[in-house]
Symmetry: none
Subunit: 215 residues, 4 copies
Amino acid sequence: MGAVKSKRMPRAERERQMLDAAVEIIGRHGYTAASMDDIAELAGVSKPLVYLYLNSKDDLFTACIRREAAALTRAVRAAVRPDLPAERQLWDGVQAFFTYTAEHPDGWTVLHLQARTHGPKFAAEADAMRAEMAAFVTRLIASAARESHPACDLPAHEVAGLATALIGSAETLADWANTTDGVTAAHAATTLMNFAWSGLGNLMTGNHWTAPDPA
Amino acid sequence: MGAVKSKRMPRAERERQMLDAAVEIIGRHGYTAASMDDIAELAGVSKPLVYLYLNSKDDLFTACIRREAAALTRAVRAAVRPDLPAERQLWDGVQAFFTYTAEHPDGWTVLHLQARTHGPKFAAEADAMRAEMAAFVTRLIASAARESHPACDLPAHEVAGLATALIGSAETLADWANTTDGVTAAHAATTLMNFAWSGLGNLMTGNHWTAPDPA
Amino acid sequence: MGAVKSKRMPRAERERQMLDAAVEIIGRHGYTAASMDDIAELAGVSKPLVYLYLNSKDDLFTACIRREAAALTRAVRAAVRPDLPAERQLWDGVQAFFTYTAEHPDGWTVLHLQARTHGPKFAAEADAMRAEMAAFVTRLIASAARESHPACDLPAHEVAGLATALIGSAETLADWANTTDGVTAAHAATTLMNFAWSGLGNLMTGNHWTAPDPA
Amino acid sequence: MGAVKSKRMPRAERERQMLDAAVEIIGRHGYTAASMDDIAELAGVSKPLVYLYLNSKDDLFTACIRREAAALTRAVRAAVRPDLPAERQLWDGVQAFFTYTAEHPDGWTVLHLQARTHGPKFAAEADAMRAEMAAFVTRLIASAARESHPACDLPAHEVAGLATALIGSAETLADWANTTDGVTAAHAATTLMNFAWSGLGNLMTGNHWTAPDPA
DNA sequence: TATGAATGAGAATTCATTCAT
DNA sequence: TATGAATGAATTCTCATTCAT
């Protein structure tokens, strides 16, 4: 997996190799267990060069998070056609999400776990992406509600909670698919839609769940 | 928050203080950023005593995970009365879950984030708890299905996926409640039931979600 | 091997147990690798008691060296009858020496190796014993010379060198016997006499070895 | 004695400096009393560099033992001309041995004492050298026997014992020469030949020592 | 652009030793 | 006599980071 050693290549490409190496090592061993030595070696360059380009371990990690977040976001966005119905948009986005996370397990680990466990600075980077995902889902829920039940209005803060819940399911199912034999991205995607969509449908019709009698 | 410094106490009590300190520091700063010095200081003892009682940083972390997992599990179990209907059991359990995680944010972080990001050994400890939660939810879904729609049968592996999705929602909502002003445990609990229960209800009636026409 | 745990015994006996344990552990693992914890545990007492009786690790080691040196010296002395001829005295002493070292390998290691490798303080303790052995051998050589070749006079410093050489052989042969299968104490004793005695005989007759022509 | 502090030198040279420092410190203070800090300081470098090059305290020690063993072996071998008579070969080798040990007392201590008192791993390293010395001496004894008394045959295991005894004398005399004022390498060498050679001569003529009447 | 040489700062861990009972 | 509780002081080792070329 280590890049073939070849001297003198353009900066952009070298940087990509370094980030590749960093994502792989951080994803597999964790941020703190990942040493700059290991990363430099896997990237096929000397450590000073890593510092020359990426500046510090923190910056390197930040760059990893940003790159992986951007790539995941891009993949999802590319799959969604805003002119289609909300349900369809969600389905397409969800499929793209699970496909991407299955194909980039180290990147997913970096985003989902590593970025969130090593201090607020990195967590904030990852949260930016989650916020974008949440905004996307929120928009869809709202628009689905408008489409199908113009009368109903779900209060904004409630929609935020639902979006959070849906994203939480998605994240956990992505881990589940990545670590459970026989569970594919398609599988995870269907499970998520099954789990989430009809519940959401009910809510949009004003059909809230009510707590059972506390007797 | 550090224990009042008072010398010479029985081992069991000292050990508890140490675990308290460790959970707090690890929860706030992360496992690797937490130094044994900091933990010992917060516990009000010298480092050698920590080693004498807990043996190593790894063992200390493991002990934290186990203790917190046991406490959370216990809280949920204590809230659930197995003779009540499934929906009610779920509701009670969910409430207990969010209440506990809100009251023990450091412990929750240790379980939910730290334990999963520092190697398989610790992840396995946390997974044991997740498996128990999943089993609980799985049982409830199955029993709810039996209660209300004896005719329907959801295949086991599908139920497993749904349980995973539900737990994922719960975990994420717990984080959300802990980090978002104005969101209470009760709030999170209601959101989760809203989100999950009616969807589950549909599935139990055999009413699966179907993918929109791919055209 | 550890002493049976029984409370409240006379000081002398307890001390013996502690020294037994210390010799065993130090002999097998080396002085620095031997921890006071291990020694106390093997002796079946608590660490503070070891300190109460033996004062410090240094003092404990010193006590071990002295005890083992005294025991070895005593064994050799007991085997020698000063009224017999020198050759016979040497032979009896050598046999006793190899028998004792074979039966007390840990004690022998403490004396021969450990005492000499952890600073001058301990080395001096062991040297006292070597000096005594050397004096014994020196006396024998001188008396043998007198017995058989009254005319000859070996200068004192030369005798000292020969005694050192003989003792060096003996020490090394003791290690060799202790670590080589099939080599007994009797074997080692015979080898030593074979090696040393006839050479000494020659010297006593004034028959010195002379360097070959350096051509 | 510490190297003049001059930065930036090739790795091989730095490594040599480190080994020099390590041999000196370990030889004088013992393996366990020698701290990596001390060694690094004497070598004129920072501790991390010692670890970078030599890997661990254990490996550093092993490297010391090997280097010193090789140097001593080389010195002896260089002094011996295999085409000369056995006695002459032994005499030359013995002289070289005592000369070398006198000129490198720390190295000799490392080999003779330290290597043998800190666990089997290091002892095995030193034993390799002793085995080589023993083989050399064994060969010489056998060849001397053949040269002068073709009729006699000393059994192999007996020769091994004699070689061990001779080497033991040599080692002890080396210590003696290093620690006794007025005793030179030449002195020690002559003493050893005096002590050993005529005894060996007797044995080769079949003239074994026999135990005195046990009466 | 690229690297071999080098380090400051701090981490976990251990150990001989003592106190209070 | 005997011990459970506790610690000061090291020690090995690692790592992010920089210098000189």
